[in-house]
Amino acid sequence: MSEDKYIRCKNITKTYHGRTGPKEALKDVSFEINRGENIGILGHNGAGKSTLIRILSGSEKQSSGSIDRKMSLSWPLAFHGGFHSSLTGVDNVKFLSRVYQVDFKETLEFVRDFSELGKDLREPFKAYSSGMMAKLAFSLTLAIDFDCLLVDEVLSVGDAKFQQKCHDYIGDKLQDRSLILVSHHPDVIRNYCDKACILHQGHMFETEDIDRAYHDYDGLVNEYFKKQN
């Protein structure tokens, strides 16, 4: 069962053509994730983390390389995007229930329950704080039941209680689901993931030791680049 559920990326590169000339956001990134695995991708701001997540989700196209998606992937859960800003939380849930072909009533019930947003679900999305956005986005992706969640930072916001709730839910109920989580907070990754990668200036490499990534990030990066040369 688990063998036929995977995502495999081979030699992904992404080049943006900005005003100052081409900029390579991702350089030859390859990795694989199987069902049930949680991968954390650690990197500084601008390392290419969000780009990678968007490319994985399919909302953006890579410049070269291939992605073989044998799991259903969520959209990138980030601080921006995914929801229509003028619609209320409920209308957004209704819209996305339609798009992803899940029952609206059940989905809303789950979201209401899990997010604890209460009356705020009737407010327009643009009035949400980043914590509220994260709650809505996270609850909805759990309700839609994707094989693999793509999370861009948002697990590091929200109150401690909600964070604990997400953590418990992922640990308990999502054993057979996958999680790809990017963050520049190593502790978030250590919390959720059994495997960590470092993304540095578009290069990605795996690290055996999440704790080391936490304490000695620069040392790890230097070691990797030394080996490469």
Binding site: G81, H84, S85, L96
Partner: protein, 262 residues
């Protein structure tokens, strides 16, 4: 789901339907007053034109009903103009939704155009029936021809929306030009004249505008062949629509995944 053609088409239809329903909320609001305006706007315009022309006697010499003339003209403008206007910033307004892999730029523009087509068709129909019940207007003689012209016009509108929606993302300059052009097109699109009233050389030029041909069909169907002399070229309209449809598909594909916030 994606792996079969049938599955892919089904997902696409579901997405377009979802976007259509979503657009109704932001377009007309949750209160019903928004939907009323769908009828109010053309009603006011048609009344204005009809009164102005009756007073000025503008339709004199052309023995056709002024109200029918105004309603066919304005409804047509409403259809193509709204499709174009709603397409040129449509992607920007739905940018946050494009992160969903299932939702494409094509789906957004098509859903928005369909909503305008439904709106314009409803207002055209309801207003005609309403005014005919008040004996202010006579219903069409040949409904089939009116519908044929209207469908061709809707097709033109949706392909223009696709094309212009895509190009307006490519450059801000083009977006501005599109807005100016739609204003200029209004008097040229046949809303205020029959081609037969024009000089032959001018008639030749305006018949390159597909909307003019389509409106001539609609009016021929409405008044009957004995009452008006309509000029149109169905083959030209079909050619135009097919070519612009292909062009629209190519352009929208070209900008796929590249739309940036302005």
């Amino acid at each position: 789901m994606y792996n079969t053609l049938y599955g892919a088409i089904k997902v696409q239809l579901i997405v377009i339907y979802s976007l259509f329903m979503r657009e109704t909320i932001t377009r007309y609001g949750r209160e019903n007053i928004g939907f009323l305006w769908l009828l109010g706007e053309p009603l006011l315009f048609t009344s204005g034109i009809a009164i102005a022309w009756s007073v000025a006697g503008a339709a004199h010499g052309h023995a056709i009903g002024v109200v029918e003339f105004a309603i066919t003209g304005y409804s047509s403008v409403l259809l193509w103009r709204n499709c174009i206007n709603r397409a040129t910033n449509g992607l920007q307004q739905n940018l946050d939704l494009l992160v969903h892999r299932r939702i494409s730029e094509f789906d957004v523009i098509v859903a928005r155009s369909l909503l305008e087509i439904v709106g314009a068709t409803m207002s055209f129909t309801l207003l005609s029936v309403f005014l005919s019940m008040l004996s202010i207007l006579k219903l069409p003689l040949d409904l089939g021809e009116v519908m044929f012209g209207w469908i061709l016009l809707a097709w033109t509108s949706i392909t223009l929306a696709l094309m212009l929606g895509a190009v307006s993302e490519m450059s801000e300059m083009i977006e501005k030009i599109i807005h100016v052009t739609t204003y200029l097109l209004f008097p040229l699109s046949g809303a205020v004249f029959m081609v037969d009233w024009l000089t032959p050389s001018f008639a030749k030029v305006v018949l390159f505008i597909p909307m003019v041909n389509e409106l001539e069909m609609i009016r021929e169907g409405w008044y009957g062949v004995d009452a008006v002399k309509a000029c149109y070229d169905v083959q030209y309209v079909l050619d135009f629509n097919i070519i612009t449809t292909l062009l629209g598909l190519v352009l929208i594909r070209k900008i796929a995944g590249k739309v940036e916030r302005k």
